[in-house]
Amino acid sequence: DAGVTQSPTHLIKTRGQQVTLRCSPKSGHDTVSWYQQALGQGPQFIFQYYEEEERQRGNFPDRFSGHQFPNYSSELNVNALLLGDSALYLCASSFLRGLDTEAFFGQGTRLTVV
């Protein structure tokens, strides 16, 4: 099991562009959460997907949107990129209905907006 995989690992975009980040959860997991980690900060919760629906959302603008597919993989989309969107984006997966709900993290996608 490769665990949680994210792609791409690094990305450079221009202000105003749109970006899509991808996440494949750990085998057996049904829930995907996305986090933004700015330099020197802890991860900040963006949103969580379960059963192909956004179940919870943190304090992020509507420019941040996502999707979960039937195979539980997920995408994070960010429109109209701002310089402040530069960060490490982490995906975490878990099994919501399981006895052990530990969240497993991917390596992250480093997004740089110029």
Partner: protein, 109 residues
């Protein structure tokens, strides 16, 4: 709103010395508390959680609801403990995690 506070950004300790990382939280309900660790060039991973009451790699953490704290301790630091440590809480029992800003631990040989 929930908040996790880790007051010290950088902690340098000598090998064999005790380590204590402080974590305080504010939350109105009954949260679940965690410590996550990130070693150099590795992904964020769970170190321990308060409900399991385990000692992992010599680390322990006790939830003190009166002081709303979940401090991480290890009596004798090892070089391999050098890493970034994040305290986190979840609520609603659904793995939405709120993280502190993290502590960089450097163990000096």
């Amino acid at each position: 709103a929930q908040r996790v506070t880790q007051p010290e950004k950088l902690l340098s300790v000598f090998k064999g010395a005790p380590v204590e990382l402080k974590c305080n939280y504010s939350y109105s309900g009954s949260p679940e508390l965690f410590w996550y660790v990130q070693y150099s060039r590795q992904r964020l991973q769970l170190l321990l959680r308060h409900i399991s009451r385990e000692s992992i790699k010599g680390f322990t953490a006790d939830l003190n609801k009166g002081e709303t704290s979940f401090h991480l301790k290890k009596p004798f630091a090892q070089e391999e403990d050098s890493a970034m440590y994040y305290c986190a809480l979840s609520y609603y029992g659904n793995n939405r995690l709120a993280f502190g800003k993290g502590n960089q631990v450097v163990v000096i040989p």
